[in-house]
């Protein structure tokens, strides 16, 4: 009965064909889950759409915001944007550079009126061999330094902490970190902080965009290579170091300025004697102000202007502040613009001994804000890039299809006034064709194309009969018997009514169908309200409609159809005025899905006796366009 057996084989045999029916409830559970899943699938689409909508709205607002700034900004060459306290919304002014000696570095004056909080701390340091008299002037709050290359100087590629030595004496050499009295020493410590850098870039780009639109259209490019530009500047301006310090990146960015000396002799030619800069913060403000001052100097002097919000740790209680000094090789006086920020605790006159080290710590809130803005800016940029990309494709071809809803604004009948009061039913038809768009500018597009169009309607409550002697008003008579259409109950209006009355069966109740067909050639203009991945256009224009179908027929209540003839009062060419809104969604690089509800009001459709019939139609044009 029992035999020795391999345990493996025992189980294998037993389990080989083993099956067991699970309880029914399991399937019920599974089905429930499956059905639930199907329902759930719908939801994320809406969530996604609402997300997209939110982003679009945000993008739009940002765009408008920047546009405003742009309009305000009047500078051709915005180099640097320094905003001390974004949160505070302190408008920045820029220094006119007229007074400044020229340097290799061209600084353009930029007026920043942007209230936008952007963190750009730019430190521009000029080293000139000879530092002679300095003009220290108080300047507007911001200084823009520009480059020859017209690249923005101010793009923060690195985080630099700049020390400005207070006193500049004659220096034969400037060692980066040495702060000797009498020497203007600039220490540029570049802390490459990837995160910070990236942040700054983002911010910078936003700022730039706003500015740059006025000045340069290529701003975005510039923004993306902030690093290079700064390098270039440094190179081209031998002896000038430009440092950009980002406080933002460090979160608590500290800028220490020590310095400002009125009398600087700069000896080292390559080295920078002057550092301008400053970012300071008042802890109150939490804001960081970094301002770089810039000037256009043919000869190569830079006036960095810095704002300092300074907490003074220094002995110099009087002076706070700021300033960047540029020394000219040629011995030209420099303009140093020191801008005492509103938020400064102390104003420091620029005297030979001046200054203050300021440490700034940013509070978290500020940072978060910046971060958010930066992100928004990035997004904006992306969209812009996308849009720009599309811009390059000026032509756009679009097969389209539209359900057309025909109607009339007033009662009336193009056939005969007697039908004006009759009920009419308008047929909905399908229009199809090809559209061609040409982008004139970023915003404005000229559109044309060809569409077929059938407009049919039915006049109800008519009666008709055959007659040799009469014909329906506005319908071409035929050589054989005509069909006369009239309102029901009118009776026979013919002279030989008596005769015809003998044949009452000759009249039929029914309806009259007028069919017209056109080839429509629109010429329209579209203005882009929104031109991103998702776009909205306002469209207006006219269409020329060429008549290519013309027929009037009657349908008896029994359903028999008889041709009556062609309407004689249709113009072979007429027009329509078109207005509409276009929605488009770019789902692929060159492909867009379009949906354009258009209202087209027909003008001059009938040559005469239109019976106050004012037809219009609404087309829901949709299609997929390809741009090239």
């Amino acid at each position: 009965m029992s035999e020795k057996k391999n345990i493996d084989r025992l189980f294998q045999e037993k389990f080989k064909d083993f099956e067991e029916n699970p309880p029914e409830v399991i399937w019920d559970n599974i089905r429930e889950e499956l059905e639930e899943k199907k329902k759930k699938r719908v939801i994320p689409i809406w969530i996604r759409l609402s997300g997209v909508a939110a982003i679009l709205v945000m993008g739009l607002l940002l765009r408008l915001y920047f546009t405003n700034i742009e309009n305000n900004g009047t500078t051709d060459n915005p180099m640097v944007i320094d905003n001390a306290n974004g949160a505070q919304g302190i408008p920045l002014k820029t220094l006119p550079t007229d007074k400044l000696p020229k340097n290799d570095i061209n600084t353009d004056d930029v007026y920043n009126r942007s209230k936008k909080p952007t963190l750009n701390d730019n430190v521009v340091v000029d080293a000139n061999e000879n530092n002679n008299g300095f003009d220290n002037t108080k300047t507007g709050k911001t200084v823009n330094a520009k480059n020859k290359h017209t690249k923005p100087f101010s793009t923060p590629s690195k985080n630099a902490v700049v020390y400005n030595s207070k006193s500049n004496k004659a220096n034969s050499t400037n060692s980066g970190s040495v702060t000797q009295p009498g020497n203007a020493v600039v220490n540029n410590i570049a802390l490459p902080d990837d995160n910070a850098a990236s942040k700054n870039n983002g911010i910078a780009t936003t700022a730039k965009n706003t500015l740059s639109n006025s000045g340069n259209q290529h701003n975005s490019a510039v923004a993306t290579n902030p690093f290079d530009t700064s390098k270039n500047n440094a190179k081209s301006n031998s002896g000038i170091k430009s440092d950009i310090s980002d406080k933002a990146t460090a979160n608590s960015a500290v800028a220490t300025n020590r310095t400002t000396s009125s009398g600087n002799k700069a000896t080292g030619k390559a080295q920078n004697n002057n550092g301008a800069t400053l970012n300071n913060l008042t802890q109150k403000n939490n804001a960081i102000a970094g301002n770089a001052a810039s000037t256009n100097n043919a000869t190569g002097t830079i006036n960095p202007a810095g704002k300092n919000n300074i907490n003074d740790n220094n002995d110099n209680s009087n002076s706070t502040a700021v300033a960047a000094i540029g020394a000219d090789k040629e011995g030209q006086p420099l303009n140093n613009a020191a801008t005492p920020p509103v938020t400064i605790n102390k104003d420091i006159p620029l005297t030979e001994t001046a200054i203050a080290a300021t440490d700034t710590v940013k509070p978290e809130n500020e940072l978060e804000k910046l971060l958010r803005e930066k992100e928004a800016g990035k997004k904006e940029e992306k969209d812009k890039a996308l849009a720009d990309n599309a811009k390059t494709n000026k032509w756009n071809v679009k097969p389209q299809l539209a359900p057309v809803f025909y109607n009339s604004l007033s009662q009336g009948s193009p056939i005969d006034g007697q039908f004006a009061g009759n009920a009419k039913s308008y047929e909905n038809d399908l229009s199809y064709g090809v559209g061609v768009n040409y982008a004139l500018t970023k915003k404005i597009t000229i559109r044309s194309g060809v569409n077929t169009l059938n407009l049919n309607y039915e006049t109800q409550g008519v009666e008709f009969y055959a007659s040799l002697s009469k014909s329906t008003t506005n319908v071409a008579a035929r050589t054989n018997a005509n069909i006369v259409v009239q309102n029901q109950g009118t009776g026979y209006a013919t002279p030989n009514a008596f005769f015809e009355n003998q044949m009452p069966a000759g009249t039929f109740n029914g309806s009259m169908m007028q069919k017209t067909g056109y080839v429509e050639v629109p010429v329209e203009m579209a203005y882009a309200l929104l031109d991103k991945k998702f776009g909205i256009d306002i469209i207006g224009g006219v269409s020329t409609l060429f008549l290519n179908g013309n027929n009037v027929s009657v349908v008896s209540t029994q359903g028999y159809t008889t041709n009556v003839g062609q309407a004689q009062n249709l113009n072979s060419i007429h027009f329509s005025t078109n207005v509409g809104v276009g929605f488009k969604y770019r789902f692929f690089k060159s492909f867009e899905a379009n949906f354009e509800p258009m209202f087209k009001y027909q003008v001059n459709t009938f040559s005469r006796d239109s019976g106050n019939f004012k037809p219009y139609f609404i087309g829901l044009y949709s299609g997929i366009s390809f741009s090239f």
Binding site: K4, K5, I7, D8, I30, L34
Partner: protein, 180 residues
């Protein structure tokens, strides 16, 4: 309607097709769940989850190889995954001499009992035993599936065999005391 069409319909998310497929394969797959799970209740849970997984992944079935085999693999993987996330496999590895064969007195042992003792095995022993003995995976495959060493798999198997043998013999001892 052929199985292939049925599967295609399932790929289209037809609930009717899914039900048919379920009816067709549930008994076999329930058997799989029973032997891989700790208890009948667990097995029911696993069956349910496994089928949901099958319907979710059915688009990945490329009509290569038998659908049943594919479904079984999904089912087994589902169970393994579940126990893995529960961290059950963390039992102390013991070094057992590998015994190639374990001989037992094989009289008519009821299926229920066999199933019960399998389910009572520690999780990893159960997995290894099932995978190796009943479903024919190699130690290498098992090792990678369970993320353990080859040797661990082998010793787990040996240990599982010993436990099963003991249980069977105990039962035989109890019910048929004299049977030898």
């Amino acid at each position: 309607m052929g199985l292939e069409q049925l599967i295609k319909d399932c790929q289209e998310n037809s609930i009717k097709a899914q039900e048919q497929l379920y009816r067709l394969f549930a008994p076999k797959l329930f058997a799989v769940c029973l032997k891989y799970s700790r208890s009948r209740v667990d097995a029911e849970d696993n069956l349910q989850d496994g089928f949901l997984l099958i319907f979710k992944k059915i688009n990945q079935y490329r009509f290569e190889g038998s659908f049943e085999g594919w479904a079984k693999r999904v089912m087994v993987n589902n169970v393994l995954q579940k126990y893995r996330t529960e961290g059950i496999f963390e039992i102390v590895t013991e070094n057992m001499p590998e015994e190639a064969e374990v001989e037992i007195e094989a009289d008519d042992i009821p299926m229920d009992y066999l199933m019960a003792i399998i389910q009572q095995l520690p999780d990893r022993y159960r997995m290894v035993f099932n995978l190796y003995v009943i479903d024919g995976y190699s130690h290498k495959e098992i090792a990678s599936m369970l993320n353990i060493a080859d040797g661990t798999s082998k010793s787990n198997l040996a240990r599982a065999r010993m436990i099963l043998k003991e249980k069977i013999e105990t039962r035989q001892g109890n019910t048929i005391p004299t049977a030898k």
